[in-house]
Symmetry: C4
Subunit: 268 residues, 4 copies
């Protein structure tokens, strides 16, 4: 639940100061590297939809290769339908640099504030993935049950918007809330959003997609392991760190499979 | 389990008084707005089948745009196969205005009585959706675990046909039972039917479909959250009300995705 | 796990007496009604595979329309691939009347003995359906949680082959075991087979398929209802009997949908 | 998570001694039997992916028909995309006999060490199958709940890499770890790998695939049976042994179905 028609949302949310800064910005030139990143971003949208990590909502962004203060994110639309033409450029205040009438996600501040806080992050995924949501409203912490989700060994905190912002519409609808979320993420790869979903980050689009997928997969597996009863033998912090290192080297294997599947035929 | 062949059911169920009133009615003229509503209604049937909210049973209706005492509902058939030609017009006593030999749903009184009782309702969905049914026979109440299902924060009562009508065949087979169901719905968006399914209403076909889908999704997520053990941190009433308002503004995003999927190819 | 290559199984299992009686039989002539029954039987195999009630194993039979001591059953093969040419005719001792070299199911005695014991039964489905199997090894009885599975209100006993036959390979591999199973079924519509699957019967192929599907669906829903904790409000015996009557009148609705799906394209 | 690019992994892992022995080996000639085995191996990869037993990771191997000290395994890639050209030949030290620049699975020692320890094994499957993983981190043992998984009656031990090798990256990345795993497997058909997945072996590719599929299916069913509460009535050791014997005779039935499905159209 992460966007509003431009008419309803952008004008109200782009306050005067932001509008001014937006007026001064220009769309950055696209290099060959940018074209590749945008192609990856389009694939990421389609893959996460095909894998049921995203449904009609949720979004994926990538930091600009050359301009670290810019990022790419689709216009407000269902991820499963995104094409390269739908990718827009934003600054780190969440302003669209070149809107051309396209509507924007209300929750673009998830992305802008994380890019501000985490220079190492090159891609951000926001999902309502069904495996994860139960953990956002539970006292049970998400922990790694298998090596594919080794990145969870570093921790996956639950951020409750109500703690700092009271009873809201649950959305990350301004920079202040986005900053709160980024703070909760800290130096981790995943932060759960209570009653909402999660945010997963990575050093590349591929890795962020890999982590979003395996966060959901691990959540389902952990739920099943808990349901069996008795103690669950999670990966240790050391095992997690070691396994995550090797995971990063083999992401292409599953990425290539996923990409082939979404590019073989148009989305349906 | 919501219809009977016309031969078996309509004659018996259309008592004398109803037949007379049916004799006096005429099919209302279809305007451009009607054509759009009917197109949405056909899409709604196909979407809810494609999303496994409906299987071979269940039905969706829409109130007539210009004649609030009329509504549209398909003839008695599997929702996944409905076309515009299958849409019939009914009055609020559940009489088919223009049957032309087509069989009608035995449970059309779900729709007629809710339209009578709730002038704000423009669309009604009746499902046996698998996520929801366990909650219809449980003491555990359905409550919102994520913002997409914020409308549940207002409550989703369980109606037990046995309380008022004794041991029946479980079907809403006459206006009196329909009225009892409408009373249980009250001013809510969802009412659960014990041992049967649910009814979901909305101010438009799109919103009713959205709510039917996310009622089922939320039920599954709540089941998983409960299975983890410990307290579940549900949305508060205020959060629910606020999130529901914003949800209504972004329904088109997922509707467009769903509609594209069911219109890209004929149903299979 | 219900068949063996003809070489391995038939010779051994067709004892002298059966072979003799088989020698005397002739394939009955096929009438138009037979052709329809066989078409339904082929559709039933494909439907139950498409709906994941059957996987590579399990089988479906229909009693001969004119010769109540004969029934039709496919040769030993995966149900999802069955065509009319694969349908064989058997007598009530489980002998293939016209084998023509085709291999037969080792467990054909499930069918023959039930047709012997239950003159009202016109179709038999044997499945390993995943929703049901947990109930075959549990002390929890399968009971109806929704009206589509109303037929379960009459009871769905668990038959444990070990009680009468000791530690076997779990298969209904001869008439004596088949008779024991038929006895456990009694006058019910469903009998569960411990550590194996179930058998579902009906007054027609359509109804048997309907019941096999909703037995599995109900089992899944009951499991979920139990997992929520607290008492489950099952259909009463009277409600079950009444709802089952109406169910039988609307089976065509879902049958037509299912049949369209499996005949629209060849099985894959 | 079972492979690395050749650059990253092979050189480091192919120590001097192994390299020398690799230098002396030649690719064995392929006979008609080999061609059939390789075709089965390709089908096995695709089938296990289509059945969701494998995702983008995991691998399947077959022992060479004529040279029991050799085995076939695809290059490091997603199983769902494997073709005959991707099949490489390895010796029992895990050296690629004819790499031709193709990258190899880091975890090929799973295969080599099991072929060394178990002369009866002709095929090995390594999966991260979602039904099984919860049992790898649980105190609850995987046991047979239905006859299709009768092979589990002999036991399915859990191997914890940490016991012998401390806190690792969880991978079977050298012969010593592979030997430890093979020891844990013993004379069984299945060994579970804590926090990782499982290994399933058989006397042929078909049987290993059958067992990998039904290990996963059984795990899901057992989880559901446990969730119902109360005692679970598992197959006894004798029942398991008897049922496994008959299972081996009917593997072709489901194999033919699965193979048809993956060869009807190219993988997507």
């Amino acid at each position: 639940m992460c966007g509003v028609p431009r008419e309803a949302g952008v004008k109200k949310l782009n306050d005067g100061k932001s509008s001014k800064s937006a007026g001064k910005t220009r769309v950055s030139k696209r290099t060959a590297a940018d074209t590749q990143t945008i192609a990856d971003l389009v694939a990421a949208n389609r893959i996460l939809y095909a894998q049921s990590v995203l449904d009609g909502y949720g979004h994926v962004s990538a930091r600009h290769d050359l301009h670290p203060n810019r990022f790419w994110l689709s216009r407000s639309m269902a991820p499963g339908l995104v094409t390269a033409d739908d990718i827009m450029e934003f600054d780190l205040d969440g302003n669209a640099v070149d809107a051309r009438g396209r509507s924007v996600f209300l929750e673009r501040f998830i992305h802008s504030e994380i890019y501000k806080a985490r220079p190492d992050v090159m891609a951000v995924v926001h999902t309502h993935s069904p495996g994860v949501i139960p953990f956002t409203v539970s006292q049970v912490m998400l922990r790694p049950v298998f090596h594919n989700a080794a990145f969870l060994a570093a921790g996956a905190p639950v951020w409750d918007i109500r703690k700092e912002f009271g009873e809201t519409d649950m959305l990350v609808r301004n920079p202040a809330i986005g900053k709160g979320l980024a703070l909760a993420l800290g130096d981790k790869s995943v932060v759960l959003m209570r009653g909402h979903g999660d945010v997963v980050v990575g050093p590349s689009v591929k890795v962020a997609v890999f982590r979003a997928y395996y966060t959901d997969a691990n959540a389902r597996l952990q739920s099943q392991a808990i349901a069996l009863g008795g103690e669950v033998n999670y990966l240790t912090a050391v095992e997690g760190a070691k396994a995550d290192t090797i995971n990063l080297q083999v992401v292409d294997r599953v990425w290539n499979l996923w990409k082939m599947r979404v590019t073989a035929a148009p989305p349906k």
